[in-house]
C-alpha cells in the first residue's frame, strides 16, 4: 500500500534534483495525517509479514495463571481469559485479517474488472445482461449478501474473503465498464484494429491498461471498507477458528468480559479502527492524485 502511495504520488511532483526533493518534502510536511497513515499502514503490513519483529511470545499458548492481566510493560495489551498475550495475538492476527482483506479486494478487482471489460467492450446484449446482474447484486445490502455467501460456503478465513469479495464485484464492474467505454473508440484503439490486431489482443494491450487507473484507485478505497467487513464477519464467528487470532474474533472474544477486562475488546477494536482510517486517508490521497493526473485523451 505504502509503496504504491509513493509511486502514485511521485509523478505529481515533477521536477528535477533539489527542487524535486524540496517539493516532495513540502508535500509531505503539509500532510501530517497522511504521513502518520502511511507509517501506520507500513507497520501493520510489516506485522502481517514478519510478526516476529514485534513480539517473541506465542500467540496460541498462554499461561492460565496469568489470565486477564491489565496492560503493562510485559503485556502491552494485557492478557486474555486464557493468559495469552493480547498484543502478540493482535500482531499475529494482522496476517490473518490482511490476507482475507487482500484476497477479497483482489477477487472484486479481478472478477469485477473482467465483467466490466467484457460489458464495455462488447456492448449490446452482453452489456445489458452483465450490467443487470450487477444491478441486482448492488440492490442487495452488502453485509446481508456476505452473510448468505459465507453461510453457504462454511467457516474459515478464505470463505469470509470470498464472501466479502463477491459483494464488491458489481462496483468494480461498473467503474471498469465506464472507463472501457471512454477508451474503446479513441484513435489508437481504432488504429490497432485497422492494422489487423484481433479484438482480445486490443482489449488486453490497449484498452485495459488505459482503463485501469480509476479501478486501481477504487481498490485502494475499498481496502478500508473491506477490512471492516472481514472483521465484522470474523466478529460474528465465521472467520478463523479458535485458537487462531483474527482481529474481529479478538473483539468478539472479549465482549463477555467488558465489565471486568476492558482491554480485551478496546485495544483490538482501536487497532481495526486505526487501520481502516489510515487506509482511507491514503486512498483519498491516491484518488486526488489520480484525478489530477488524468490526462486529456488524444
Amino acid at each position: 500500500m505504502s509503496g504504491r502511495a509513493v509511486r502514485a504520488i511521485a509523478p505529481a511532483l515533477a521536477g528535477t534534483g533539489g527542487a524535486r526533493a524540496r517539493r516532495a518534502l513540502a508535500f509531505w510536511a503539509r500532510r501530517p495525517g497522511l504521513v502518520a497513515s502511511v507509517l501506520l499502514i507500513a507497520t501493520v503490513l510489516t506485522a502481517a509479514v514478519a510478526p516476529g519483529l514485534f513480539t517473541s511470545q506465542d500467540p496460541l499458548t498462554g499461561v492460565p495463571a496469568d489470565r486477564l492481566l491489565a496492560p503493562s510493560a510485559d503485556h502491552l495489551f494485557g492478557t486474555d481469559q486464557l493468559g495469552r498475550d493480547l498484543f502478540t495475538r493482535t500482531v499475529h492476527g494482522a496476517a490473518e485479517s490482511l490476507r482475507a482483506t487482500a484476497l477479497a479486494v483482489g477477487l472484486g478487482l479481478v472478477v469485477g474488472s473482467a465483467f466490466g471489460l467484457v460489458a464495455g467492450a462488447f456492448g449490446g446484449l452482453v452489456d445489458d445482461a452483465l450490467m443487470r446482474v450487477a444491478d441486482v447484486l448492488l440492490s442487495i445490502p452488502a453485509l446481508l449478501l456476505s452473510l448468505t455467501v459465507v453461510t453457504a460456503l462454511g467457516f474459515g478465513t478464505v470463505n469470509v474473503a470470498i464472501a466479502v469479495g463477491v459483494t464488491s464485484v458489481a462496483s468494480f464492474a461498473r467503474i471498469m465498464r465506464a472507463e472501457v467505454i471512454r477508451v474503446r473508440d479513441v484513435g489508437y484503439v481504432e488504429a490497432a484494429y485497422a492494422s489487423g490486431v484481433r479484438r482480445p489482443t486490443v482489449l488486453l494491450r490497449h484498452v485495459l491498461p488505459n482503463a485501469s487507473g480509476p479501478v486501481l484507485v477504487f481498490a485502494a478505497v475499498e481496502f478500508g471498507t473491506v477490512l471492516l467487513a472481514v472483521s465484522a464477519l470474523s466478529f460474528l464467528g465465521y472467520g478463523a477458528q479458535p485458537p487462531e487470532p483474527e482481529w474481529g474474533a479478538l473483539v468478539s472474544d472479549g465482549r463477555d468480559y467488558l465489565a471486568t477486562a476492558w482491554w480485551l475488546t478496546t485495544l483490538p477494536g482501536l487497532t481495526i479502527a486505526a487501520t481502516v482510517l489510515a487506509a482511507n486517508r491514503v486512498a483519498r490521497a491516491l484518488e486526488a492524485e489520480e484525478t489530477q493526473d488524468r490526462e486529456p485523451l488524444p
Binding site: 481469559q81 493468559g83 465489565a259
Partner: protein, 534 residues
C-alpha cells in the same frame, strides 16, 4: 450465548444448556428469609429464546424453565436422595420384569380448561408423545418400546412395554412426560409451540412472543402440587415473566439495575461481582453426562485405545475449572455427574498424568515430529473435535484443552458449528471427537448416548461389553441391581476412554435478595411454585 433449538439426539446432548441448585455447597437463595407472602411478580431473564413452550417437545433449559411451570408430572424426584415420590400419582406399582407400570392418580386434579386429570388423560398423552416421535425427542425415547396404556378405571392407568424399561419410572418425573389436556394433545405439534398449551400446573400460559417474552399467570384453584414442595395450594407468585436476554453481560446488568429479579446462565466471570454486590449466586450441578470429549472410534487414530487413554490422562480438569469456569463448577469425577442416580466415584481413574500419556503414545508408535506434533507412518496426530456453543465457556474450555494436549504432542483442531446443525454433522461422522454433555437424573442417559441402536456418539459396534451393561441396567426394576450394572458401564466407559469427562455442568442463577425459595428440581431446572418475593 447461543440459541438452543434442536432435533432429537441433540436435545439429549444439549438438554443441559446453561443453568442450576445446591448439591455442591452453594447457598440456597434467600432461604429462611422470613414468612412466605403470597402475591407479587417475578421477572426472570433467559439466556436464549425457548423456541417452543410445549414441555413435551422441548429439551433445552431456557425452554424448560417456563414450560416446567405449566405442567405436572405423575411423580417427582427428590433432588437430595433421588427417591421417586408422589405428585399426580398417589401410588404406583412396577412389575418385576420392569415391563408394566400401574399409576393410581389423585382424583381432584384438573387441567386449566376444567377437564379432569385422569387415567384417560395419561393414555392420551403417552399415545400422542409416541406419535410425535422426533418432535418429542426426550419423551419418545423414554417411551421406547411402548405397547400401550390401559385405563383400568377412571383413576388407574397401566403402561406396558414390549421390553423391560427400568428407567421409565424416573422418566415420569420429567417435564417431557408432563401431562397436557386433550385440547393440546389433539393438536398438530406446530400449533402447540406458541399457544394452546393447556396443562394442570401451578401457572397458566398467557402469552409467548418469540425472542421476547413468555408470560404466565397463577392458577388460583391449584391444589395438587408435588409432595416435595414446601407448601400446598396455589403458587405464591401471581405472575411470571420470562424475558429473553441473550448477552450474558446484559443479563447481569439487567439484574443489577433491578430490571429483572433473577437470571439464568450467569457467566463465570460475572459470578464474583454478583456475590459481592448483594445478589445471590445459586448453583447446582446438572445430573447426567458431564461436559467432555467423546471419541468416534470409527476413525483410525482414536480407534486405538492407547490414544484415547492418552487424551484422558493429558487433560488437567482442575486447570480447566480454575481458568475458564468459576468456583461453582467442579471437575468431572466419573462418567456421570455426581448428582446422577447410581453415580460411582471414579476420580482415581481421572488423574492428570502427562508422563503416562506420553509413554502410551510412544508405545503405540506415535513419535514426536519436527513441529512437536507426534507422527506415525507419516501421519500427524491431528484430531478434530466437533462442538457447538450451547454453553458459553465451551470455546475457552476447548482452547485450554487444546493447549494441554499440545503439550503431549496431540494437535486438536476445533470445528465449530451452530447448534441447529450439530446433530446433522454428528451423523456424518467427520471428526475424531465430539464435545458435549447431556442432562438427566437417570443413569439410562448412558444407554441413550452410547447404545449401538440409539444415539451412539462413540460409534460402538453392537455387542460390546459396554452395550451389555447398558442393556442390563434398563432390564431390571430393582434399584440395587440397576446400580450394579450402571457402575459397570461407568467403569467401562473410562477404561476404554470412549468418553473423556472434563467438568460437570452447573446451572448458575443470579437472584436478587428480595426473591426467596427459588428451588431447583432434581434435574437442576427451576421450580417456581414455592418462590415468593418480599
Amino acid at each position: 450465548m447461543a440459541r438452543r433449538r434442536l432435533a432429537l439426539p441433540a436435545v439429549l446432548l444439549f438438554a443441559a444448556g446453561a443453568l442450576a441448585a445446591t448439591g455442591c455447597g452453594a447457598s440456597e437463595s434467600g432461604a429462611g428469609g422470613g414468612t412466605p407472602e403470597a402475591g407479587g411478580e417475578l421477572t426472570f431473564a433467559l439466556a436464549s429464546d425457548p423456541g417452543c413452550v410445549d414441555p413435551q417437545q422441548q429439551g433445552n433449559n431456557d425452554a424448560i424453565y417456563p414450560a416446567r411451570q405449566l405442567v405436572d408430572s405423575l411423580t417427582d424426584e427428590d433432588p437430595e436422595t433421588g427417591d421417586i415420590v408422589p405428585w399426580l400419582a398417589e401410588s404406583w406399582e412396577v412389575s418385576e420384569d420392569a415391563r408394566s407400570f400401574t399409576f393410581h392418580i389423585r382424583d381432584d386434579a384438573t387441567f386449566s380448561d376444567g377437564t379432569p386429570v385422569d387415567a384417560e388423560a395419561v393414555r392420551a398423552n403417552f399415545d400422542s408423545i409416541v406419535e410425535l416421535g422426533a418432535r418429542a425427542a426426550l419423551g419418545s425415547s423414554y417411551l421406547a418400546g411402548y405397547e400401550g396404556t390401559t385405563v383400568d378405571d377412571t383413576h388407574t392407568a397401566t403402561v406396558t412395554f414390549a421390553e423391560p424399561n427400568g428407567q421409565f419410572l424416573r422418566a415420569t418425573t420429567t417435564f417431557s412426560l408432563g401431562l397436557l389436556a386433550e385440547a393440546t394433545t389433539s393438536l398438530p405439534p406446530e400449533e402447540r409451540c406458541t399457544d394452546n398449551i393447556v396443562g394442570s400446573g401451578p401457572f397458566v400460559l398467557d402469552e409467548y412472543r418469540p425472542n421476547e417474552v413468555v408470560v404466565e399467570t397463577r392458577r388460583e384453584d391449584y391444589a395438587w402440587g408435588s409432595s416435595l414442595w414446601r407448601h400446598e395450594g396455589p403458587a405464591y407468585l401471581e405472575r411470571l415473566t420470562f424475558e429473553v436476554i441473550p448477552e450474558s453481560g446484559v443479563r447481569t446488568g439487567a439484574l443489577r439495575s433491578g430490571q429483572v429479579d433473577a437470571i439464568g446462565g450467569v457467566a463465570p466471570q460475572d459470578e464474583a461481582g454478583l456475590d459481592d454486590g448483594g445478589f445471590t449466586v445459586q448453583s447446582r450441578v446438572n445430573p447426567g453426562l458431564p461436559f467432555g470429549l467423546t471419541a468416534n472410534i470409527s476413525r483410525p487414530a482414536v480407534s486405538d485405545q492407547a490414544v484415547r487413554r492418552a487424551v484422558l490422562l493429558a487433560i488437567d480438569r482442575q486447570e480447566v475449572v480454575d481458568t475458564v469456569l468459576s468456583p461453582s463448577f467442579r471437575p468431572a469425577t466419573s462418567t456421570l455427574a455426581h448428582t446422577t442416580d447410581t453415580y460411582l466415584d471414579l476420580s482415581a481413574e481421572l488423574t492428570h498424568d502427562t508422563a503416562e500419556a506420553e509413554r502410551l503414545l510412544d508405545e503405540a508408535g506415535w513419535r514426536p515430529g519436527p513441529d512437536g506434533v507426534r507422527v506415525k507412518d507419516g501421519e500427524p496426530l491431528t484430531l478434530t473435535v466437533l462442538w457447538a456453543e450451547n454453553f458459553g465457556p465451551n470455546e475457552n474450555a476447548l482452547q485450554l484443552i487444546q493447549q494441554q494436549l499440545r503439550a503431549i504432542g496431540v494437535d486438536l483442531t476445533l470445528r465449530s458449528t451452530s447448534i441447529a446443525e450439530f446433530t446433522a454433522l454428528r451423523e456424518e461422522g467427520d471428526f475424531d471427537y465430539t464435545w458435549g454433555n447431556a442432562t438427566r437424573t437417570d443413569p439410562d442417559i448412558l444407554r441413550t448416548q452410547f447404545s449401538a441402536g440409539l444415539v451412539n456418539v462413540a460409534r460402538l459396534p453392537d455387542g460390546s461389553p459396554l452395550e451389555e451393561a447398558l442393556q442390563a441396567q434398563n432390564a431390571v426394576a430393582d434399584p440395587e441391581a440397576r446400580a450394579e450394572h450402571s457402575a459397570a458401564a461407568q467403569r467401562l466407559v473410562l477404561e476404554e476412554a470412549y468418553s473423556v469427562p472434563v467438568f460437570e455442568l452447573t446451572t448458575v442463577l443470579g437472584i436478587a435478595d428480595h426473591v426467596h425459595d427459588l428451588d431447583f428440581e432434581a434435574s437442576s431446572r427451576i421450580q417456581l411454585h414455592d418462590t415468593w418475593v418480599s
